[in-house]
Symmetry: C2
Subunit: 586 residues, 2 copies
C-alpha cells in the first residue's frame, strides 16, 4: 500500500530535540521515526516501526539460515531462576524489579540465559536432541543510570538473543562459529561499518566473548586496533609483558625524605631536584603508584584491594571492573583508611601491602612490574619514599591485574603494531558461556554411554532497536538520514511538485504501478506544500532513491535522485518502473 505523506502520521521538525546529544537521536526524532515517552523509553512512529521491522526481518532470516529456531519468552520473569544463577543480586540497580499483587518478586528481563536453560532442561534429556540453537526477537529492559542518546541506549529496547546448547566443546565451537558468521552477514546487510573485537564478558559470565562494534564517535565503547588488524575492547587488552630485568648491580633500596610529595607530579619534581639522575630526568614512569579500592562482593561483603601501576598510567575503572567481576567497585573511604592504620595515605608502598605484610591487604600489580624493575614508591610513612626498590628482590606482589589504562601507541599483544584508540557502538556480542548456567540450573543430558553430561552453552545478542540508531550514526549527512536499501522505510520517495493536477495524476499512477510491481513507495502527495519543503523532508527522511515528478513532466520526464551522491538522472516516465526496478536490484 502506498504511504501518502498527506495522511501519514508524521511531522518532520526543523529543530533538534533539546535533550539530544548524538546525531542519530536528533535525526530520528526530527525525521519522525521515534518520539520520547519517558527517559530512555521511546515510541516508534510509522516510518520508524517499518525500519525496525526491516532490521528484524534481516536478523530473522540469518538466524533461520543457520537452523536456529524462533521462540518467544515473556519479558516479565519470576525471580527464582535469576536467584539460582546469582544474577538477581549481581544486576544491582540495573534491572527493573517489581512485585505482583501477591507480593511475589519479578523482574523485567534484561537477558534470558536462565529461562532458555530451564526450558531446554524441561523438554530435552538426550545428546540426540543436541545441538540446538534457539532465538527470540524480544523487548528487553535495563534501568540504565544515565539513559542517553535516544534509542542508542534505551531502557526498553528490542534485542535478538539466542542460545546454543551442545553436548561437547567441539560441537559448541561449531555453533559459536555459525553464529559468528550469521552476525557478519547481518551487520553487512545492515550496511554498518563495524569491527569484531575480543571482549570481556561482563556480567554475563563465561570464558570468552567477542563484540561487534559499529564505528562511531558517539559510541560508548572504547576499543583499540592495530595496523596489523588486532582489535579488542579495552577490557580485553593483554599488556605486553617486558622481559625480566637483570638487577645484580642494582643498589640496595634506600628510603629518602620527600616532604610534601603526595602526588606523582610533586614527587617527580622533588626527585629531579634532590636526587638528579645522570642518564635522564626522573619521570612518572619510574614511580609505582599504589591505589586502594574496595570490592563489594555479591554476598555483600567488602574486601580491600591494592593495585600498583606505573605512575604515568591511571587505573582504568572499566578494565579493573571487568577483572574483579562479579564483585563491584566501591570507594576506599576515610573510614577504611582509619581501619588500616599502617597505611600512610599518599605514601603507601609494598612494605605494608600483600599477604605477608603489615596491612594484610591483597596487592596486585600491573604486568609491567616484572622481576628486576626498579621503582620509586611510598615508604609507608608521611613524607618518605623508597628509591631503587626492585621487584622480586625487595617486594613480591600477590599477582598481577590488567587494570592500568591502555594508551595510544601501546604495542598490540599479537605484535601487530602500535595500538590506536577508537570508539564504537556495541551491536552484537557472542559469548562462550561454557557451563556456567547449565551447572547453576542443572541442565544435563545423557551422552552416548548413558552418562549425564552438563551441556555447553553459548549466548548471542544483537541490538535490534539500537541498530536503527547505529545505522543512522554510520549513514547520514547534514541534510538528514541516508538509509541502506534493505532497511529503508520505503524503496522510493516519490515527490510530486507544483500545483498541476496532471503532475499529481501522473505521480499517483506511478506510485500505484511501482507498488503493483513490488516496489514500496512513500509518496509526497501534499498539495500546497512548496517543493523546497518537500525536498528538505525527503532528504531528512532518508529514503535512498528520490523520484521527482514535476516540471519535466511536460516533456514526459521524471527525475531520479540518489540520496547519498546527490546525482540526478532524467528518465522518461514511460520507462520509470523498469528503470527503478533495475536500480533497486543493483
Amino acid at each position: 500500500m502506498v504511504m501518502r505523506m498527506s495522511t501519514l502520521f508524521l511531522r518532520t521538525l526543523r529543530e533538534d530535540p533539546v535533550d539530544a546529544e548524538v546525531v542519530s537521536h536528533k535525526l530520528l526524532v526530527r525525521a519522525g521515526y521515534v518520539r520520547r515517552a519517558a527517559p530512555g523509553i521511546y515510541s516508534w512512529l510509522p516510518l520508524g516501526y517499518r525500519v525496525l521491522r526491516n532490521v528484524e526481518a534481516i536478523v530473522r532470516e540469518e538466524m533461520d539460515a543457520i537452523g536456529a529456531q524462533e521462540v518467544h519468552f515473556p519479558a516479565l520473569l519470576p525471580k527464582e531462576p535469576y536467584e539460582a544463577s546469582n544474577r538477581w543480586e549481581e544486576y544491582g540497580d540495573s534491572v527493573f524489579r517489581l512485585q505482583d499483587r501477591k507480593k511475589a518478586d519479578y523482574l523485567l528481563g534484561p537477558t534470558h540465559e536462565e529461562m532458555f536453560t530451564l526450558l531446554v532442561k524441561d523438554l530435552y534429556s538426550s545428546y540426540k536432541d543436541l545441538p540446538l540453537s534457539l532465538y527470540q526477537i524480544q523487548t528487553k529492559y535495563r534501568d540504565e543510570a544515565r539513559p542517553r542518546a535516544g534509542i542508542l541506549r534505551g531502557r526498553e529496547f528490542v534485542m535478538k538473543d539466542s542460545y546454543s546448547f551442545d553436548v561437547s566443546d567441539e560441537s559448541f565451537m561449531r555453533s559459536y562459529q555459525a553464529h559468528r558468521e550469521a552476525y557478519i552477514k547481518i551487520f553487512d546487510r545492515l550496511g554498518l561499518d563495524y569491527v569484531i573485537v575480543d571482549a570481556m564478558s561482563g556480567a554475563m559470565g563465561g570464558s570468552a566473548s567477542e563484540e561487534f562494534l559499529a564505528n562511531a564517535a558517539s559510541g560508548e565503547d572504547t576499543y583499540v586496533r592495530s595496523p596489523g588488524g588486532y582489535a579488542a575492547n579495552v577490557e580485553a587488552v593483554h599488556t605486553v609483558v617486558p622481559p625480566p630485568v637483570p638487577y645484580d648491580d642494582a643498589p640496595a633500596a634506600h628510603v629518602e625524605d620527600t616532604p610534601d610529595t603526595p602526588t606523582i607530579e610533586t614527587l617527580v619534581d622533588h626527585l629531579n631536584e634532590r636526587f638528579p639522575r645522570t642518564d635522564r630526568p626522573w619521570s612518572a614512569a619510574d614511580t609505582l603508584k599504589n591505589v586502594l579500592v574496595m570490592l563489594k562482593h555479591p554476598d555483600g561483603s567488602r574486601e580491600p584491594l591494592a593495585i600498583g601501576v606505573p605512575g604515568d598510567r591511571d587505573v582504568d575503572e572499566k578494565r579493573l571492573g571487568a577483572q574483579v567481576e562479579p564483585a563491584a567497585l566501591d570507594v576506599f573511604t576515610e573510614d577504611d583508611f582509619a581501619a588500616y592504620p599502617t597505611l600512610a595515605k599518599g605514601y603507601i608502598g609494598p612494605g605494608v601491602l600483600g599477604e605477608k605484610n603489615a596491612s594484610g591487604i591483597r596487592f596486585l600489580v600491573d604486568p609491567r612490574v616484572v622481576e628486576g624493575t626498579r621503582w620509586v614508591t611510598g615508604a609507608d610513612a608521611p613524607g618518605k619514599h623508597v628509591l631503587d626498590l626492585v621487584a622480586g628482590r625487595d617486594f613480591t606482589p600477590d599477582g598481577t591485574i590488567e587494570a592500568a589504562e591502555v594508551r595510544e601507541g601501546d604495542p598490540a599483544p599479537d605484535g601487530s603494531g602500535p595500538l590506536e584508540l577508537a570508539r564504537g557502538i556495541e551491536m552484537g556480542h557472542i559469548f562462550q558461556l561454557g557451563r556456567k548456567y547449565s551447572e547453576a540450573l542443572g541442565l544435563q543430558v545423557l551422552d552416548e554411554n548413558g552418562k549425564l553430561v552438563t551441556v555447553t552453552m553459548g549466548s548471542y545478542g544483537v541490538g535490534v532497536s539500537r541498530a536503527v540508531a547505529a545505522i543512522v550514526e554510520n549513514s547520514h549527512d547534514d541534510a538528514g538520514i541516508i538509509w541502506p536499501r534493505e532497511v529503508s522505510p520505503a524503496d522510493i520517495h516519490l515527490v510530486a511538485t507544483g500545483k498541476d493536477d496532471a503532475v499529481f495524476d501522473a505521480a499517483g499512477q506511478l506510485a500505484a504501478d511501482l507498488e503493483a510491481s513490488g516496489v514500496s513507495v512513500l509518496y509526497d502527495d501534499r498539495r500546497g506544500v512548496s517543493p523546497g519543503v518537500k525536498f528538505k523532508d525527503s532528504e531528512l527522511v532518508g529514503v535512498p532513491t528520490i523520484v521527482v515528478v514535476g516540471r519535466g513532466l511536460v516533456d514526459g520526464l521524471i527525475e531520479v535522485k540518489d540520496r547519498r551522491s546527490g546525482e540526478r538522472t532524467e528518465v522518461p516516465l514511460s520507462d520509470a518502473v523498469a528503470h527503478l526496478r533495475s536500480l533497486l536490484r543493483s
Copy 2:
C-alpha cells in the same frame, strides 16, 4: 525452510498439564505450542510462535486495509498520563506498578489510551490532520487475581490496540464502523465462531461499546441472546420495563408482625401461612429485597447505596459493578450498620431509605418497580414487614439501576423473544470513547473556523495471543487441535513412515518441492519412531492437511488426509505438489 520433526524444538506430551482446566490450555501445552514460565505467563515455542505470528499478520493486514497506521509504544509507561486520566487509581491491583532506580513511578501498560492521546496532541493540531487511526500489536500486562486457562487469560499477553481520532461525531462513526467491519473480517479469517454483543465499557470509560465474543463454554463472559438475533453482554441488558399498574383500589399499606423472617424464604412461608392470598400463593417475586453496598470512589471516599430488587432475583455484581463505575464495590459491614442506626438489618424498607428518609442513604430500584406495583418489604423494625406498599404512592425511590440478575427466559429488550444465556471469550472490543481522554489530556485541534475543538476518540482491541487459544477452543477434537488454514503453523504435515530409505528420500524430496512452490511443510522425518506415534502427534499438532508417505510408495501413491473430517485420498506422488497446491487454494 522445511521444519523437520527430528530437529524441531518440540516434545509432545501424552498427559494434560496438572494446572490446566480448559481444553485449549491442555492441548496447546501437550502439542508443544506454549510452556508456562510463571502463573499466567507463558513462553511461545517454535510452533506456537508461528501461529501467533500468523494471527498477527491477519490483524495487521485488516488494519492496514482500513488505513490504520502501525506504530509501537513502550510497555513500560510513566505514571503521569495515567494520573491525568485517573486510571492510575482506578486500575487498583490489576496493574503492575514499579519504580525505577530514581524512584519514579511506572506501570506496565494494560492499554494505551493516554499514550496515544498524548502522541497525537504532540504532533497534530488541525482538523486537516484528521481523521486518523493508529494501531499497534504489542505486549500488554494485567495482574489478574486468578490467572487461569493458560493463554486465554494471561498476565502478559499480546494485543492489537488501535485508536481513532476524529473532529466530529459523524466522522467518528465512520471510523468506528470501519473498525467494526475490519474486526468482522479478522474474526472470520481466524475461523472463530463468534457473536457481536452490546457491552458496557468497563474501566475504559466512554459511552457505548460492542464486544466480539467467541462462543465457548470455557468463556468467562456471560452474554444473552434471543431467537430474533439480539445479543448483549449481561452488563448491557436493559430490563423491559412493564407499564404502570393502576392502584386506585389498592388497600392502604399495613405493617404486620413477621417474627423470625430475615430471609425471603422465611418471609414467603410466613406470608402463606399467616396471610394467605386467595388468588395464588405468595412468591418471592411479591417481595422487595433491599440490599446495601458500599461504593468506594476513586478519591477514596465511601458512599452507601441501597438497591431494591424483586425478591426472586439476586443482585448481579457484574451488572451492578458496571453501573457504578468508576466507583468500586465494597461490603457494607457491621460497622457500617452501626453507623446507620435506623437500619434494621434483615427488615430494611423504603421507610428509612432515600434522600427524604431517615437514613439519608441513596435508594435505587430495579426498573420493574414501576408506579403502582405492590410489594411486601421490610418495615424497618426487627420482625416486622409492610404489605401492600405501593410504589409511587407509599414510596418514591431516588431512581432505577440495572443491577438485578438477567435470567434465562427474560424478554429481549428489542422484543425479539426470550433470552437465553451463553458463554463467550472476549476476543475484540470496540469503544466509543467520546471525549473522555481528549478532555482529560487536552487533545484539541483547530476546526475549519479556527476554533479549538476537542477530538472525538474510539479505542479498539483484539486479543491476539488469546485468539490462539480461542481458535483451539472452537476447533479441536479428542485427538487434538484442528487449525484453520490461515493460522496453521504449516500448510502440510508430511509424515514418512517405516524404515525404508526410499520412503524418506521421496518424502524429503516432496517436502523440498512443496516449500519451493510456496507451501510450508512440517516434515516428520524421525527415524525409529512408530507410525502410530507419528499419526498421534500429527493429530495433536493439528495441521489441517496431513500427507503420509509410506507403504503406498511402491505403487507410486501417497495418502492425503483431512485432519477435520478424517477423509483420506490416495494421490500419485507425481501429482502430489499440484494436488496439494490446489487443495490449499480451495
